[in-house]
């Protein structure tokens, strides 16, 4: 990895931090739990690295087995995180008052 690549990576990192902070500061308090579980779910993006490790050419060595474990953990994170977020968000409703008790 040459120095140029490292600097590009750091640039992306810093800019994404600012963009993220900007977006997230607009999330209202009422959605903070879904925000948390949604950001949790996307942190399961580590699954990309896990897939590469689990599917590495020389199958069934220590690397692919560790990758396999990583795939399991990351999938729990991704699938569980998104599903639970969706479940929560389904509950946030604005009712037209006095319609139903």
């Amino acid at each position: 990895m040459d120095t140029g690549t490292i600097i590009v990576g750091l640039t992306i990192f810093v800019l994404a931090c600012f963009a993220g902070a900007e977006l997230i500061s607009r999330v209202p308090q009422t959605l903070h739990t879904p925000l948390m579980s949604a950001s949790n779910a996307i942190s399961g993006i580590a699954i990309l690295g896990a897939l590469l490790a689990a599917g590495s050419p020389e199958s069934f060595n220590s690397v692919s087995l560790i990758g396999f474990l990583a795939v399991i953990f990351a999938s729990i994170n991704v699938v569980g995180g998104y599903m639970v977020t969706d479940r929560m968000l389904q509950m946030f409703k604005k009712k037209t008052r006095k319609k139903k008790g």
């Binding site: 209202p28 779910a41 689990a54 990351a74």
Partner: protein, 458 residues
């Protein structure tokens, strides 16, 4: 698929994640946001699977099937009141995944390491590892499996500092000789240990801060893995998650008027009996009967409900909504005031009330409703304690002095539903309970509310 195409697809995925979070800015668009975020994840996974670096799919398919089954089952089954525990567990899985990816990368590299790659790999393992065990302990504390009291011992911080120093030493050894397996696995073990030791001295009521902070760590671990793998998708997403976690951490700390350092090292909630006994407010709590409470509610024209962790613990959110709706139909103006640290995670009360079908435009954050307590007839406090303690404003000797609290005592009447006469979590007496305009209704919040509701209907 060539690496360039894959990277372009990752860019699309990252944009979808950004849009997803942008849409979380309103409950009306949030569902769409989550779908956008999901599709970003699907696209990124599909692109990776099409990469020439993947040749075997057996482990991948089995792994995803197992993980999806566990995650999906948990997501469907979990009670909304147990959401903090669930998020902590998922978060721990994220940390573990990042750390494991870094371990696999370390094991799989045979051609020698660039120093930058090695540093980021080790950081990913350390941060991911401590996120994993730290989240498990946080889960345990939220569940009550691990003592919710701060667990402290003399020299604790020296021990933790020593572990950090030892970890750095081992990292330096690995840096000198990447083949040093002893040092490498030593780092893994120490990182796991550090997660446990760092979280046990923190009290159960501070878990919202810890879960947020660990959330941010898991993002950081992902970013570090991204640097090591030279994968921009991981770098971007990791920084998003890191920023989100830090943002929530800061909100929680501000809402308690405490610094993050105080939360992490202050062992808040450690009971000091001598202080608790001598500094209690004088006077007596006045317990009232259900009928008296119902009468006060009947004659009121405005009501603000203040829920706290006690509502979650008693699973009282549904009957709370029933009472709110009933009074609303009787012509009362009914609103809910939610303190940022009410409950056990950011937004915990909002989710519970949403589950119980309370319209989200009835839910107000503290800064939007605090001025209205003075013009309100009745405030109904359900299982909240520290967030309504006037001592935070008036008593410089109180541990929570300076914390922004809801001005409930300014209302004409305050009805407090409380399990027993005992002091709250932090062992802090609450003057509110002794005030002249306060009516205490002791008992389980759920059954108390049911009794009040049936008394009203008679």
């Amino acid at each position: 698929m060539s690496i360039h195409v894959i990277n372009l697809i990752y860019l699309i995925a990252a944009s979808l994640f950004m849009l997803g979070i942008k849409n979380l800015s309103s409950p009306a668009t949030a569902k769409l946001g989550n779908k956008l975020s999901m599709s970003g994840m699907a696209v990124a996974i599909a692109a990776t699977l099409a990469s020439p670096d993947i040749s075997g799919f057996t482990l991948i398919i089995i792994g995803i099937a197992i993980g999806a089954a566990i995650g999906g089952y948990a997501a469907i089954k979990v009670e909304m009141t147990a959401m903090p525990e669930m998020v902590a567990l998922f978060n721990g899985c994220g940390g573990a995944a990042s750390a494991l990816v870094a371990v696999a990368e370390f094991q799989g590299t045979t051609t020698g390491f660039e120093s930058f790659t090695l540093i980021t790999l080790l950081l990913s393992i350390i941060i991911g590892g401590l996120t994993f065990t730290g989240s498990l302990i946080a889960f345990g504390k939220l569940q009550g499996i691990v003592s919710t009291r701060p667990i402290t011992y003399p020299g604790q911080q020296v021990v933790n500092a020593g572990i950090v120093a030892l970890t750095l030493l081992l990292a330096w050894l690995v840096f000198q000789d990447p083949a040093n397996a002893f040092a490498f696995f030593g780092i893994v073990v120490l990182a796991l240990g550090l997660g446990v030791l760092a979280v046990i001295p923190i009290g159960g009521a501070d878990m919202p801060v810890i879960v947020s902070l660990l959330n941010s760590y898991s993002g950081l671990a992902v970013s570090m893995t991204g640097f090591a793998l030279n994968n921009n998708a991981l770098i971007i997403v990791g920084s998003l998650v890191g920023a989100s976690g830090l943002f929530l951490t800061k909100i929680m700390c501000d809402a308690m008027n405490r610094s993050l350092a105080n939360v992490l090292f202050g062992a808040f909630g450690k009971v000091d009996d001598s202080v608790a006994a001598s500094e209690g407010p004088t006077g007596t709590m006045k317990g009232f009967e259900v009928d008296e409470v119902a009468m006060v509610l009947e004659s009121a024209s405005s009501l603000i409900i203040v829920p706290g962790y006690g509502m979650a613990a008693a699973q009282a959110q549904h009957v709370t909504r029933e009472l709110g709706d009933y009074l609303s139909e009787e012509g009362l103006e009914v609103r809910y005031a939610i303190h940022s640290v009410a409950g056990r995670m950011p937004g915990h009360m909002n989710v519970l009330l949403a589950e119980a079908d309370v319209s989200y435009d009835q839910l107000f954050a503290m800064e939007d409703i605090n001025d209205d307590f003075a013009n309100t007839d009745v405030v109904l406090v359900i299982g909240a304690n520290d967030v309504v303690n006037p001592a935070a404003k008036t008593n410089p000797g109180s541990p929570i002095y300076g914390m922004p609290v809801l001005d409930v005592e300014k209302a004409r009447t305050v009805i407090v539903l409380k399990r027993s006469m005992n002091v709250g979590f932090a062992g802090i007496e609450n003057e509110l309970f002794y005030m002249d305009n306060t009516m205490m209704l002791f008992g389980d919040a759920k059954s108390s509310l049911q009794k009040v509701l049936s008394a009203l209907k008679e």
